[in-house]
Symmetry: C2
Subunit: 358 residues, 2 copies
């Protein structure tokens, strides 16, 4: 078990050693820690080695000049300058928030970035400003459109955070596939089968083998099959792709650069780096914040009071499971899997840092 | 078979007779016709009788003062004044477009409206202005959140229209349930079963009976089951609900007023009428429109060139099926089902209008 403080300091030091500024290293560590706290370890410590290897391969810029290259009162396109995703994304979301202060809403499409961790983190940056926060990103192309076997899209998550009054905020953060990539990888590592509806083989036939995507298979979009609405998941994923990558000038769809160094950069290029999309909507650009928050409280109470299906004890509000994880993990500490500890130790050794294995 | 011109004129006359202004009646008829043309008859002529009965019941205002009640440079809240949905929605989308002209983007949350037809129509109003159009709406509560049997949400569609260059635009328009309500109603009328995954019974057990929703059952959210990601569909539907109804002050979730006169208005009130959400993003608030459109052309070409799964001949771009319907139906005419013709004739007789049955 590790304390949050220990992992935060270690992560910060890793990125400081890579050459990041103290401010950037702290911003990066904050996102890593948020992932562990919210119970999403697939975006936490397990990624330290990935970023370390991208850095070794010269595929990330640790001294980026993240800057606005085009703007209007409510919009901006941001060039991430090859930054670590967390750096480009945190700055982009703050630009969206600043735009919203003046124009009521702010919308930022960011190119030339990299994998940024959990989308929910950036959407939640809007909450203390009494704003609704929105965040989307493209990712490694592993997902096939409906009727296709080509890996054209990422798991392309969408996050929306909405402030409430006396209740905790509404925070939706979900990939536009039935299952997140990380959970599939876990099943593959354990040698387990997965239910039909998550992946298909190279011919497009549903498969229960989570490892099929390394053998010409692909993930499918939310809905799973055409009959169950996978074309709607395809629409959603395509919207994330267009807002994040076409609007910004990043590498859309199959041209999204891989977020791990062991996958080669594509020869055929289209656009610059990874793309994200951020939005901030000031509540008082629509109505009095107190009124809105008290309505959100009633919304939350209404949905919490919905009748559970047989065999269920309660109906959840988006954000409940992650918040409950956060409370528990902040109290109990973080359990880092042994192989991940080993990777962290290897990184620490190369960089001349201390890392205590459990 | 009817010509578009014939149905357009008939629809316009029905709403003129109700007391709508010529401008409003034309706007309403345009949305009805768009639904028929795009191959979505569930939102076309079949709804004439519904609106007629709402009018008879005094539940729609045919002389509305649709107006902005709160605004910022990029946002507005619109009070639909009890208007027919098409009137409030068309005006709201034009406000979003005007806001975008000045601020780069425009976002409108509308309350006190009614059922507005197809969401895709309003998103497409942005296209001639070189803008991306967005539209969402809440609807009759028939859908249960994940783990619940309570009917808390509508089929809550999302539409996004994106201009391209030499190719037709990208137009996604989809409900956040596996199947649209209209298609379920058709199966029920024909006495057919539906695949598991669309509806559940009063205990939350998956059902193949499309009529189960009249006997305590409910529709489920996109994803179908928790294992296949229905919690993501629940998040999406909840986001539509919050943006359309909480931000505007409409009746959120279970408080959305029914869009048909045979369902009574709820006693417990929360908010005013039906809510929608509209967005317009000016392309040149992000980049040069010519560059963006040529990138969208490459996006469309890239996805069209994806390999079809075994047994499929092609991969579709969102908007393809509806556009192909439009081309065919504009040429061949509209086939209106006999029972719908009968309803239209009944409305015509009461209103003293001509209607020729096929």
């Amino acid at each position: 078990m590790y304390t949050i403080a220990y992992l935060e300091e270690f992560t910060r030091k890793v990125f400081l050693k890579m050459g990041c500024s103290p401010e950037d290293a702290a911003a990066i560590a904050d996102v890593f820690i948020a992932a562990e706290l919210r119970g999403l370890p697939s975006h936490g410590m397990i990624r330290i080695k990935d970023y370390f290897q991208l850095w070794q391969a010269g595929r990330i810029n640790v001294k980026p000049q993240v800057r606005i290259v085009h703007e209007s009162p409510s919009t901006a396109v941001v060039d991430g300058d090859g930054a670590i995703g967390m750096v480009a994304a945190t700055k982009s979301m703050h630009i969206a928030i600043e735009k919203a202060r003046e124009a009521g809403t702010g919308w930022v499409s960011t190119m030339n970035s990299n994998h940024f961790g959990i989308a929910g983190y950036y959407s939640m940056l809007a909450l203390p400003h009494d704003m609704i926060g929105i965040c989307m990103t493209i990712a490694n192309p592993l997902v096939a459109p409906t009727f296709s076997v080509s890996r054209m899209l990422g798991t392309n998550p969408i996050a929306v955070a909405v402030p409430a009054g006396k209740h905790p905020p509404f925070v939706a953060d979900f990939s536009t596939t039935p299952l997140a990539r990380g959970k599939l990888a876990v099943a593959a590592k354990k040698g387990e089968k997965v239910p039909l509806g998550y992946v298909q083989d190279a011919d497009g036939v549903p498969s229960d083998d989570p490892d099929i995507i390394t053998r010409g298979g692909s993930m499918v979009t939310l809905g799973g099959t055409r009959e169950q609405g996978s074309h709607k998941g395809y629409c959603l994923s395509a919207i994330v792709d267009i807002f994040s990558a076409v609007l910004s000038g990043a590498g859309f769809g199959p041209f999204c650069p891989p977020s791990v160094a062991y996958l080669p950069l594509k020869e055929e290029k289209e656009g610059k780096g990874t793309g994200h999309f951020f939005g901030a909507m000031r509540i008082d650009a629509f109505q009095k914040p107190e009124e809105f928050k008290s309505k959100m409280d009633r919304w939350i109470e209404t949905f919490r009071a919905a009748s559970p299906a047989r065999g269920q004890d309660r109906v959840l509000i988006p954000g409940d499971p992650e918040r409950e994880n956060e409370e528990r993990i902040a109290r109990e500490g973080v359990n880092v899997l042994a192989p991940v500890q080993k990777e962290m130790k290897e990184v620490a050794d190369v960089m001349g840092l201390e890392f205590r294995m459990d």
